[in-house]
């Protein structure tokens, strides 16, 4: 079977080709779900965000302009907008409550001791993320976890590059401060 690029597949999705859609889903769904999971801190919210994103891809495939941005950038933009809608709808939305239910798990493929260490790292990471406001968290995740450049992150967040750099700087300061506080508390106990 001939390998088709993301853009070639999207052109077929515009024409309602279900197979091309399935292929795109298999390529991008894991990365999107990971981002949604870390961003929202809630597995069921992540599920909803990812599903809504793919519904939008299927129904509004024509709004993707081939060559303007990478497909992965566009997909993250769609998902991020869904996340903003979600936050706005949740009038009682609370970061700390949402993250209290966080059940991040180390992959089962690790050895027990390695898995325990990995779980500690993941817990620490989740706790740090919980201290960061959503927009700063989004910027940090996009750059450091999802591997986007500052320009691509600016595109996803609909900000200028300067504003994105400022957001990243504030995010790093917030997370560093949270890290210091967490270490101080653990020493006190």
């Amino acid at each position: 079977m001939t390998y088709l690029s993301d853009d070639q597949l999207m052109l077929k999705v515009v024409s309602q080709c279900a197979d091309s859609f399935t292929e795109l889903v298999s390529r991008h769904v894991d990365a999107l779900h990971a981002y949604a999971y870390r961003l929202s801190g809630n597995p069921s919210t992540a599920d909803d965000l990812v599903q809504e994103t793919w519904v939008k891809v299927w129904t509004h495939a024509g709004s993707y302009k081939v060559g303007r941005v990478k497909l992965s950038t566009w997909l993250h933009t769609v998902l991020h907008n869904k996340f903003i809608d979600h936050v706005r709808k949740q009038s009682k939305f609370s970061r700390s409550e949402d993250y209290a239910d966080l059940a991040l798990q180390a992959p089962a493929s690790f050895e027990p001791e390695q898995q325990s260490q990995q779980q500690d790292t993941i817990d620490e990471f989740a706790q740090l993320l919980a201290q960061v406001p959503e927009n700063q968290r989004a910027a940090l995740l996009l750059v450091h976890r999802q591997g986007f450049s500052i320009g691509e992150t600016a595109e996803i967040l609909n900000l200028s590059s300067t504003a994105t750099q400022s957001l990243l700087a504030r995010g790093r300061r917030t997370i560093r401060s949270a890290d210091t506080n967490m270490r101080r508390e653990s020493h006190e106990h």
């Binding site: 197979d19 889903v25 999107l32 990243l168």
Partner: protein, 176 residues
């Protein structure tokens, strides 16, 4: 470069010095790291932080199966005919064909709009235009009514001139 400038750049661009925008600043930062303990501590702290993100990204996160199943149903639900497993095959525009459009979206609306029209027509035939109403007597009666109505108009004119004789005179003068 001083410590404040270094920390500002570290916060803005992160611990990967290759990502710093200005090549001159990159060189200055590398030199400053050798001189300043505070800069080295901040740099190592930033590296540890970024390592957390990278470590998380390296965990092979998989979307749950129920999510994948739900997503794959999106396309199946919208596309009436599954596309052949051949990427070179022409794309079928099943969902966009006009006939399919009408069948799926417009028939319910058209049917709903037609129902009141049909009921109105039926009501008109059933109550207003029955054949028994069209006998000759009815027509004559209707004609008589129209004559009576015409007579009453004539009488109204006479009454008007009786109450306003001056106006009647004026009319007569105008006539002459």
């Amino acid at each position: 470069m001083n410590i404040d400038q270094f920390l500002t750049h570290l916060d803005t661009f992160g611990a990967d010095l290759d990502q710093w925008s200005d090549p001159l600043e990159r060189r200055e930062a590398r030199a400053f790291l050798l001189q300043s303990l505070e800069a080295r501590q901040a740099f190592e702290s930033a590296q540890k932080l970024e390592a957390l993100f990278i470590s998380d990204a390296q965990n092979s996160h998989k979307a749950p199966k129920h999510v994948l199943d739900a997503i794959n149903k999106i396309a199946q639900a919208h596309a009436k005919q599954p596309h052949a497993n051949n990427d070179n095959a022409p794309v079928h525009l099943t969902a966009n064909q006009p006939t399919s459009w009408i069948a799926r979206e417009y028939w319910p609306t058209a049917t709903a709009a037609a129902i009141p029209l049909i009921l109105s027509f039926a009501a008109g035939v059933g109550f207003g235009l029955q054949p028994s109403d069209f006998d000759e007597g009815s027509i004559e009666y209707a004609d008589i009514n129209s004559w009576v109505y015409a007579d009453s108009l004539t009488e109204s004119t006479i009454e008007f001139s009786a109450f306003f004789p001056a106006a009647q005179e004026g009319l007569d003068n105008d006539a002459t």
